[in-house]
Amino acid sequence: MDRLVFDIAHLLAGGLVLVSFLLLYQDRLYALLNIYALHALVLAMSVAWQAFAQNADHLYVTAAIALAFKAILVPGALHRIIARLGIHREIETVVGIGPTMLAGIGLVALSMVVMLRVTMAADPLAREDLAFALSVVLLGLLMMVTRRNAVGQVVGFMSLENGLVLAATGAKGMPLVVEISVAFSVLIALIVIGIFLFRIRERFDTVDVQVIDRHRGERP
């Protein structure tokens, strides 16, 4: 039984890393948002499983927040914003997909090497969770630096934050996890509102559909 509990936790955490990779190479904003919703869904399942495995009821609250807020509300809101601003076509990436994926693999390897070696003494479930969580965090950072537009960066940040929630729930009996996930939700809500209200003029200018189209038109 223990073995099964462990394997399922492992599977879900590993799934989160996999979805992080999916996020890395999305080149359309709507697709990016859909994958992010999947990311949040996997996180919610993983947290719920941790809640079950650790008998920690308060973690179900964190899982519910992840599901309702991150998997449904935020992607929905961003969808509407993108439609309203008319920037749905494509995302400018700084680096090509190939090098980005290679860098991502390197980062995952790095976090495995670092975390597994450092946490020899810790309990194996928490240990591998932490290694996966660090991978998700690093992949989120990578995504933030390889995207040029505000929505891409925000999705990168949100996936990074999912990694942190995974780490916090993996640490057995950690207090304040619910509070921290609420605090992060406030942060994300503000960022999303910020995109809409502030319009981030300079940044959105670079993903202006017309600008991209004009470039297209000049090509032979």
């Binding site: 020899m120 928490a126 660090l134 934050e161 942190l164 304040l176 942060l187 981030i200």
Partner: protein
Amino acid sequence: MTALGVDALTAVLVIPLASAALLALLPGYRITARLNVLAALLTLLAALSLLFSARPEPGRYFLVDDLNIVFIVLNTFVAFTTSAFSAGYIAHELATGRLTPIYLRFYHAMYQVLMFAMNLTLLANNIGLMWVAVEVATLTTVLMVGIYRTPEALEAAWKYFILGSIGIALALFGTILVYMAALPVVGEGADAMVWTVLIRHVGAFDPALLNLAFVFLLLGYGTKVGLAPLHAWLPDAHAEGPTPISAVLSGLLLNVALYAVLRFKLLLAANPGAIAPGPMMMTMGLTSLVFAAFMLYRRRDIKRMFAYSSIEHMGIIAFAFGLGGPLANFAGLLHMVMHSLTKSAIFFAVGHVAQVKGSQKFADIRGLTASHPWLGWGLLIGVVAIAGLPPLGIFMSEFLVVSSTFARAPLLAIPLVLGLLVGFGALLLRLNGLAFGEPSGGTAPAGASYVPMYAHLALVLAAGVYLPPPLVDWFQNVAGLLG
């Protein structure tokens, strides 16, 4: 006596929070500005009574000890003088229409929320609570930086937001790692996040985990300190926000973030197997110092220049604390206090200058001592102080930093002195144009009170000439604690 201490602790946190709620509801500039000053004054008095009453026992969430009381008193004092400066500054902004009444209400409420968040960070005994408080402080300052809603201000707020969020995320990962390290020794639950419990048991923690945690914490909170590779948000945030916020950012928020780093440095220092945290802080500090000193030369915007000067000084302070030992820690503490007082005085002056001249560009600001003698000479004294000339307080603290570096690590004194001299040159070069020569731009009187600025400068001068023995004892005691 202890009951008084508990009351004072509660007051330091509750007064800002309650007045924030009140200020959000009250209309009218005159009442709210005065109420803001009053609330800051009451918080200062509460902090002083906390200083002089018996310390409450460290609880699960709050802690008052010799280290954080220095920060709290400094924090509430500068918050009070800044609120007095802000009242005059905001009146002008309202008159010129840069701020509307509704934003003004928001501004005052946010000011008090920021005070609450900073005091909470300083008083927190729980590393999770500390993290939440730093996050709240970041969010409020982001909102305040973007309050003018010009494209530049929004860009600055966005940059600060993204970089600050990454810093905060890294700090949380570090916090989780510290909890993981504490787990086998302290056991599950809230105790494993209480700082006083951690420091008691830290000797038995897994050193490898602690090392990794400190790297994340240093990078995370270091972003908020504005240390060199992670400083990019700082000049923009200082230049585009309202000047009282620049004063609070430079004078207080950077210190608060540094305080968080220091707490974790103490944890690492108490574990025999962990790496020494000092060299990492020294490297980042020196890099910040030298980098910022060179960056001072090419600035065209007066607030941006003093923002770089803040990076420079935070670098010196981080270096001094990284060097460690009683003398360097003493110098670091003194330098932190002097820098807070001087830099906020400079920003008070700069705020008035930018208002009377209608610009923040050096090209539009010349001959201040002729057109606005009080303002011009105040700014002059401030810049002379921040450049590190005797007999002002910063000279003394910088002298202590340099001399302890010569005693402990003579080779490191080379980049340190180089950075100090380069920064010194840049400041004096600019000062000449600012203060002397043919006046340019608006000559209307500033119509504001110079009391906060001169009060800070008087304190800096007094500290440079004579430090009262009780203060020296107090700082020496704290320096001893820092190891």
